[in-house]
Amino acid sequence: MLGFLIRRIIQSVFVMLAVALIAFMMFRFMGDPVNSMVAENATTEERDAVRARLGLDQPLWMQYGRFVGRAAQGDFGLSWRNARPVSTLLAERFPATAELVLVAAGLSLLLGIPLGILTALRPNSFSAQTLQFLSLIGISLPTFVTGILLILVFSVWLGWLPSFGRGEVVDIGWWSTGFLTLSGLKALVLPSVMLCLFQLTLIMRLVRAEMMEVLRTDYIKFARARGLPSRSINFRHALRNTLIPVITIFGLQLGGLIAFAIITETVFQWPGMGALFIQAVSFGDVPVMAAYLVLVSLIFVVINTTVDLLYAVLDPRLRVDSPRGAH
């Protein structure tokens, strides 16, 4: 297990280096950030001076090397957009994204699993059919459309929930939370619903398929023959075996939630890391873009490693003699 971990850490360093390199190669195609930084009437000389100060006149590999060198010391530089340290910006935005993703992930599990069980146990009932139909919509509607629809209905027509922002937040140390106030909780509803919709339908459909598969197996039939109560069969025997692949998929999809949060944060003006990234892109703010991409790749690596470790814990067959089997 220790060897596996060490190998994983070494791999992840290379992954992040590669992500940063690809990012730097892409930045060249994003246009010239200097245009956002100087006055409209700035002369060519002034533009060149800014370019030189930011090191944009140097070759790509030098810019990349300098970024990696500084990042290794934990210094991501200053944002070109608002002259604040990138690490401070990311730390400031992380709680917003984390709370949103946490609530969305929780919602998709808490609703997705019971609904999946329901549709699996009574596949022909009216409610199951309706849910199946709705889940198709949930999986195929683009999330920004659902977001705008939610705003239209719940903010503009009904006036129940705010259409933007985090509401009132409370600072606990460096962490700002929206969990402790009514307006903060209300502000969480629409964005987290929008964000969780895809995951929710995915989990529901996955649980349903797995559950129906398991219910057909011999040991379930045997349990029925033994005359066990169906509640015990369904939830103690069938559900447990259903959940192993569900947890794996869910773990892998957590990264996806963070990625999808970019769209949700943009629609709802949620002051998280995704919104920060989008602004950085439209400004050409290279330090913020580079740091965000490296951070997200780190989060992906950590989640995937954890899932792989959990896999080995949950499924004894993957713990065979060869340590390579852990992959």
């Binding site: 245009n35 409209e40 009437n41 700035a42 002369t43 002259a83 604040r84 929930l161 307006s183 943009t266």
Partner: protein, 521 residues
């Protein structure tokens, strides 16, 4: 420490009605970059910090220059201008305003590392005459000095020294500046709190030296990036004023109860630059047909701007033959005359010039910079094609577009120019018509050079006599108009929307000055 920040917008939605009487809730497409008034040249950030900080002279609601922190001024000699400062002005943290503050602030703005440098060209030094008098020492006669100064805000010397912030912020260095997140000015409002990209709160400065024309006690500014969400927040009553309001939602906003659009033609003139170099960037013929005046005229007459105004701009743009708006010095009605829309004539001219089959060129446009920029270009491409041209339409995000414009990798390209911050025809002459070199001609189309325009431009730069200066500008602009150096299109409309309870003048420069705003609940 527990610190609470109210987002009254959310609280108001909870109660289901508008917030208390004198709070104005204001949403814009993006947040200010920071609060240091000398750190960015972005005009939106500058007008926001203008609520906290003030310049020596300022624009009023009609864009006329009026005294602010300076009460009067006189030209001692062409390179020395004396400013008499207002007595009894205090900064919001209590410091006295005086000559040393002006000296430190102006020199901070023109520091070699300051990005704002170009907004105050030619300032060599500031000499303190007495506590309330300063002399600005200039490199040469500077007729537009006051226009420049409207944009340079004054900070307190002691406050800057105390927080180690006398040097301007330099984004290429590693340190965060105190002035980025803190503010202490002399203006009508002071900063209460700031949460980047979420909420900026300003409260009224009771000690302001001027008589307020507004009735606000509190401004809550929220950036909302998504157009649809910003409009929804206005319609749901969470926000009182939005800027910009997307043009495609204008009808919807007008139709809704309790809100209205604010739409007037602005200062920003939209035009197409024409490559007059020796070769096209992306052509299919030898040489560059666009060097021929007849071909440029054909291009001009192939575009039906009235149709674009009616169909794409919803009747809200001001079609023009001029490169500057009527509010800008140097404008005349003669300048506004357009060549008629005449595709038949365009074909004839094209054939006369030796291109009966037309020729290909790139038509470069941004798709996120000006109002309906992409739509305008699509329509123009079709119109040009009807007249026999073969335009290849390229629409890109602004960073890409302006990089190509900078590198002269464009044939026919879109540019908008508001002449800000100087509000003067000289801005167009120096940046877009003069032969490139030094501080001149940053955006002049490749190959355009007219000695008469150059001569007049250089003369305008140092002419102190206002009447003479303006008549020279008119002459130069008319000469460039004859050349068809640029193809003028229109002045794009400003587009704000507000609740009916909000009263605010809409200045042509598209800047929101909330110290003229009233909320009547």
């Amino acid at each position: 420490m527990l610190r609470k920040l109210m987002l009254t917008a959310a609280a108001a939605a909870l109660v289901g009605q508008a917030a208390e009487a004198e709070t104005l809730r204001y949403a814009t497409a993006r947040d200010v970059y920071g609060l240091d008034p000398h750190a960015v040249t972005d005009s939106f950030t500058n007008i926001f910090t203008h609520h906290i900080y003030e310049p020596l002279v300022r624009y009023d609601a009609e864009l006329k220059i009026e005294p602010a922190l300076a009460t009067s001024w006189e030209v001692v000699d062409p390179t020395r201008v004396r400013f008499h400062l207002r007595e009894g002005v205090k900064f919001q943290e209590g410091q006295e305003f005086g000559a040393d503050d002006v000296q430190v602030s102006l020199m901070r703005a023109v520091d070699p590392k300051s990005p704002l440098r170009g907004n105050l060209p030619g300032l060599k030094a500031v000499e303190i005459v007495d506590d309330l008098t300063v002399d600005l020492i200039l490199e040469g006669p500077t007729p537009l000095l006051n226009n420049y100064l409207t944009n340079i805000f004054i900070l307190d010397k002691g406050w800057l020294e105390e927080h180690d912030a006398v040097a301007p912020i330099d984004a290429s260095q590693g340190e965060e500046g105190y002035t980025t997140n803190n503010a202490n000015g002399t203006g009508p409002f002071k900063l209460e709190s700031r949460r980047p990209d979420a909420l900026n709160v300003l409260v009224v400065n009771e000690g302001w030296w001027d008589t307020p024309q507004h009735n606000l006690t509190r401004i809550e500014h929220t950036p909302i990036g998504s157009d649809a969400t910003r409009v929804a927040a206005l319609l749901s009553g969470e926000i009182d004023l939005i800027e910009p309001a997307p043009l495609q939602d204008a009808d919807r906003i007008e139709a809704a109860d309790g809100v209205h659009m604010l739409q007037n033609p602005g200062l920003r003139s939209i035009m197409m630059g024409i490559n007059m170099g020796d070769a096209l960037v992306d052509g299919n013929v030898e040489g560059n047909p666009l060097k021929d005046h007849r071909v440029r005229q054909a291009l001009y007459q192939s575009v039906n701007m009235d149709l674009i105004r009616d169909k794409i701009m919803r009747g809200k743009s001001r079609v023009t033959g001029s490169l500057i708006a009527p509010e800008v010095k140097g404008y005349t009605d003669a300048m506004n005359e357009r060549l008629s829309y005449d595709p038949v004539k365009a074909r004839e001219l094209l054939a006369e010039a030796g291109y009966p089959e037309g020729f290909a060129f790139n038509l470069n446009c941004p798709n996120d910079r000006y109002v309906n920029d992409e739509g305008i270009c699509q329509a123009m491409a079709a119109m040009m094609a009807q007249a026999g041209f073969q335009p290849r339409l390229v629409t890109e995000p602004r960073q890409m577009h302006f990089q190509k414009v900078d590198n002269k990798q464009v044939d026919v390209f879109m540019l908008g120019w508001a002449t800000l911050p100087m509000l003067d025809g000289f801005s167009v002459l120096s940046a877009m018509l003069a032969t490139p070199g030094g501080e001149y001609g940053t955006f002049t189309p490749t190959g355009y050079s007219n000695p008469k325009v150059d001569e007049l431009t250089h003369a305008v730069a140092v002419e102190i006599d206002e009447e003479k200066r303006v008549s020279m500008m008119v002459e130069a602009l008319m000469a460039a108009k004859e050349d068809i150096a640029w193809l003028p299109l229109h002045q794009q409309p400003l587009s704000w929307a507000a609740r009916d309870t909000v009263e605010i003048p809409q200045a042509a420069d598209d800047l929101v000055r909330l110290w003229y705003a009233k909320v009547n609940n």
